[in-house]
């Protein structure tokens, strides 16, 4: 058993007898009261997630913007102070190092938020490429992160702050927001397909904010949620998960996040040539939505066939709680990705019929 890290909510999980699993090297709960219950709470009311396992890096110094422009696929110059920008970071061959959020404080100061399992890899990758003028700091163990998501999320968080949270627009953030007396950074972002906020605060203060929100948010229907609901929520909204829809061998274009790839930005970035080639030559494979026709649930790594020909595999699959259908995302040979195309999924040795459907599976109205 590798040494697992804990988040500031570890004692809370223990007090609730939550079963904890290893996720990206951290001990975290799959569920608190049940995945479906938590999922529906976020779609109809609000849920709070401890995502303190996510990594936070500071990028400071003369030329920080230029450095990030060279490292990531999105156009960092488009992010002004107070903006959060979603982007991918690629290898030369177009494979993905990670997907991340970049918070712009000013053109010489940014905060990067990366996936827990990739913290060391990303930090080393950035360090290898950083010029002398850039000061790169790994603040992952000082900064905690709580995500409050759902139609009542803002209302709940508003009860512990005087700051007008509705003034923070989608993909913007505010610094020095006092949450239950704790100096925090608050962004209008999330990973569920719902409106909501992400709250960055000092590690040792996260538990007090969590408890205050559970107490004050209860009347809004706010409940604590685990990794399971986080996964089903992001899946329905077709938000990629690194390690499944994105990896060192899956490019951001193949994963369908081309909106975060700006091959025409003025500064060359790592992976640009490979991504241009993929774009102009046409993608050989891409992530698409699958809906089962036969009675079966697709799961990660199940192979997909067209007749006898293997054409790819499922990257994520489950019975989607909001929609009630057995759905999957799959990385398939582009020839078979037209909507309505029928394919077979190998479900533990049995071929089950599925068809290609539109994504996202769920879109907030």
């Amino acid at each position: 058993m590798p040494d697992l890290k804990i988040t500031p909510l570890y004692n809370y999980y223990k007090s609730q007898n939550a079963k904890l699993i290893d996720f990206g090297g951290y001990l975290l709960p799959v569920q608190m009261t049940g995945i479906k219950n938590e999922h529906h709470a976020v779609r109809t009311a609000a849920g709070i997630f401890d995502v303190s396992h996510m990594g936070e890096f500071g990028v400071e110094g003369e030329g920080a913007q230029q450095f990030l422009q060279e490292m990531v696929t999105n156009d960092v110059a488009k992010a002004h102070p107070g903006d959060a920008l979603y982007t991918a970071m690629c290898y030369e061959d177009g494979g993905t190092v990670d997907d991340l959020l970049i918070y712009c404080f000013d053109t010489n100061h940014y905060q990067l938020v990366v996936n827990a399992a990739n913290i060391d890899k990303d930090f080393n990758w950035l360090s290898e490429h950083a010029p002398q003028s850039i000061n790169l700091t790994n603040r992952s163990e000082q900064i905690a992160l709580l995500a409050v998501q759902g139609p009542h999320a803002l209302n709940s968080v508003q009860k512990i702050t005087d700051y007008d949270l509705t003034s923070i627009e989608h993909f913007k953030f505010a610094k020095h927001v006092s949450l239950n007396g704790v100096d925090s950074l608050v962004s209008r972002t999330g990973y569920t397909g719902e409106d909501g906020l992400e709250l960055y605060c000092p590690w040792d203060q996260a538990c007090s904010i969590w408890n205050a929100l559970l107490e004050k948010g209860a009347s809004d229907g706010l409940i604590p949620c685990g990794l399971g609901a986080r996964d089903t929520l992001r899946f329905e909204a077709r938000l990629p998960l690194y390690g499944q829809e994105l990896s060192s061998t899956i490019s951001p274009l193949e994963a369908g996040i081309g909106f975060a790839v700006k091959t025409n930005k003025p500064i060359d970035f790592i992976g640009k040539q490979a991504l241009i080639t993929q774009k102009t030559g046409g993608l050989k494979r891409k992530i698409v939505g699958l809906e089962m026709i036969d009675r079966a649930i697709p799961r990660s790594h199940y192979k997909v066939y067209a007749g006898d020909k293997e054409i790819g595999e499922v990257t994520t699959g489950t019975q989607a709680p909001t929609i009630g259908k057995n759905l999957g995302l799959a990385l398939l040979n582009s020839e078979w990705t037209k909507l309505g195309t029928e394919v077979d999924v190998d479900v533990r040795g049995k071929r089950k019929k599925a068809k290609i459907v539109k994504t996202p599976f769920y879109k907030r109205s």
């Binding site: 049940g34 219950n37 079966a296």
Partner: protein
């Protein structure tokens, strides 16, 4: 955790109930359903299927995972609970009653010796 004393149990967390007519009913335990979480899918064999102890006879799926079902004893499937197709949540709500899964006939009773009684099963899930 509910472990009824009138049932026998397998190490794979299935329960076995002897009926008066010599048939047996099989399902999964309270412990198993709690470990799996929200059950969303149950796959059962055809009536008439012959099972040997240890054979996979179907699967239960939660939101996150798939779990195979293993026959705890030998026998021939005489009935399946097809209500579970539309109401897999019965496995969470009523694992010992509404969510019985299969009924076997022509059961080889010598296999019962391999099963655990309630006390031994409680010890297993400790």
């Amino acid at each position: 955790m509910s472990v009824p004393t009138d049932l026998l149990y397998s190490k794979d967390h299935e329960w076995v109930k002897k009926e008066a007519d010599g048939k047996v009913r099989i399902g999964i335990t309270e412990f198993a359903q709690k470990e799996l979480g929200d059950i969303v899918f149950v796959e059962l064999p055809e009536v008439g299927a012959e099972l040997n102890a240890g054979d996979s006879f179907g699967s239960v799926e939660s939101v996150k995972t798939v779990s195979e079902l293993y026959a705890p004893v030998n026998g021939v499937v005489s009935e399946i609970n097809d209500e579970l197709e539309d109401s897999p949540e019965f496995v969470n709500e009523s694992p010992y009653e509404k969510a019985w899964m299969i009924e076997l006939e022509s059961v080889d009773e010598s296999a019962f010796g391999q099963l655990l009684d309630a006390a031994a099963y409680e010890k297993l899930i400790g």
